[in-house]
Amino acid sequence: MSEAAGRGLSRRGFLNAVGAAAGVITVATIGETVGPLSRLSPLAPRRASVGPQHLPVNKSGAGARVEQSAVDPTYRLVVGSLSLSVGDLQSLPQHAAILPIACVEGWSAVGHWSGIRLRDLLDRAGIDHDRWVRVESLERSGLYVTSEVSPTHARDPLTLLALRLGGEPLALDHGYPCRLIGPNRPGVLQTKWVRRVVAL
């Protein structure tokens, strides 16, 4: 910010100020994306370790109004012609994946998930490999009650309907009984409280 002219902010000074503003905001909020830097960031809207099961959530079970439907003993996950209880889901082959919830709002936090591969379920239900599928939530209203999964994502071995997080059963806020978790998807499309998977 050289002010040799002494008549207010020069063009270079203005550009420097804008650059400095971007730098300050980056440092003040980067902790919500890069966990180890969270102490540097007094203005991070999330902290990667704060939340149920040490992972942040944007929408709680209460906020989605699924407290009853998610723990209802008559709950069944419907995939095509299959209808599976929580016990049925637990008895299927389980797989693990380390994947982040990467929110479009900016925060990002990694979870250790385990559950059923989506492709295993689609195979059992006889859904073809080239189909898009739609994952539907128990949540009744909201912008993201369903999400669509491309054939590539649906068949990826890392794409799970997760039942567990960090070795524990999924907390209600994280989508109990099961939630979608896949690589390379924004957090809002990792549908929680899944009740149905439909081939499109």
């Binding site: 002494g6 902010l9 020069s10 100020a17 003040a28 007094p42 809207p45």
Partner: protein
């Protein structure tokens, strides 16, 4: 050279615009348009008048020597406030969700602003000292020194 610098920017704009229509199964560019135009309207109707008033006030109150640094500090502070004030006010807090806004953002905002102005003061002092050292001595300075010896 300046024209050359436009190229990557234009390429990014084209890429982003194409993405509106290619990344979703059912493209919905209308919400984007609302946001894009709305942001421009908001800037012109709200931000611009605030900046003009701030500029007038600074020009009245701050001497020419320090005006540039104060303006720079205000630009940074304005952006920090825009980001931090909604959090300090607790917009979006929910009693059933402890992961939303888990920190003390009033303190965070005060701390960030304090550091910004410490930084601005340092830059101002360092640059003015450097300017004084680099400036060729004027005749009157020589005369002054000679007379005090």
């Amino acid at each position: 050279m300046r024209r050359l610098l436009f190229l990557p920017g234009v390429a990014l704009i084209v890429w982003g615009f194409a993405g509106l229509f290619t990344t979703a199964r059912h493209p919905r560019p209308l919400p984007w348009l609302t946001f894009f135009l709305g942001a421009n309207v908001l800037t012109d109707a709200v931000v611009a008048p605030v900046v003009v008033v701030a500029g007038v006030v600074v020009a009245r109150l701050v001497g020419a020597r320090w005006r540039g640094y104060v303006t720079g500090g205000l630009i940074i502070s304005g952006v920090v406030l825009l980001v931090g004030l909604p959090m300090a006010r607790g917009y979006g807090l929910r009693s059933d969700n402890p992961s939303i806004l888990p920190l003390d953002y009033t303190r965070g905002l005060a701390l960030t602003l304090a550091l910004v102005w410490v930084g601005v003061a340092l830059v101002a002092v360092v640059s003015s000292v450097r300017e004084r050292l680099l400036r060729p001595p004027r005749r009157s300075d020589h005369a002054l020194k000679a007379s005090t010896k």
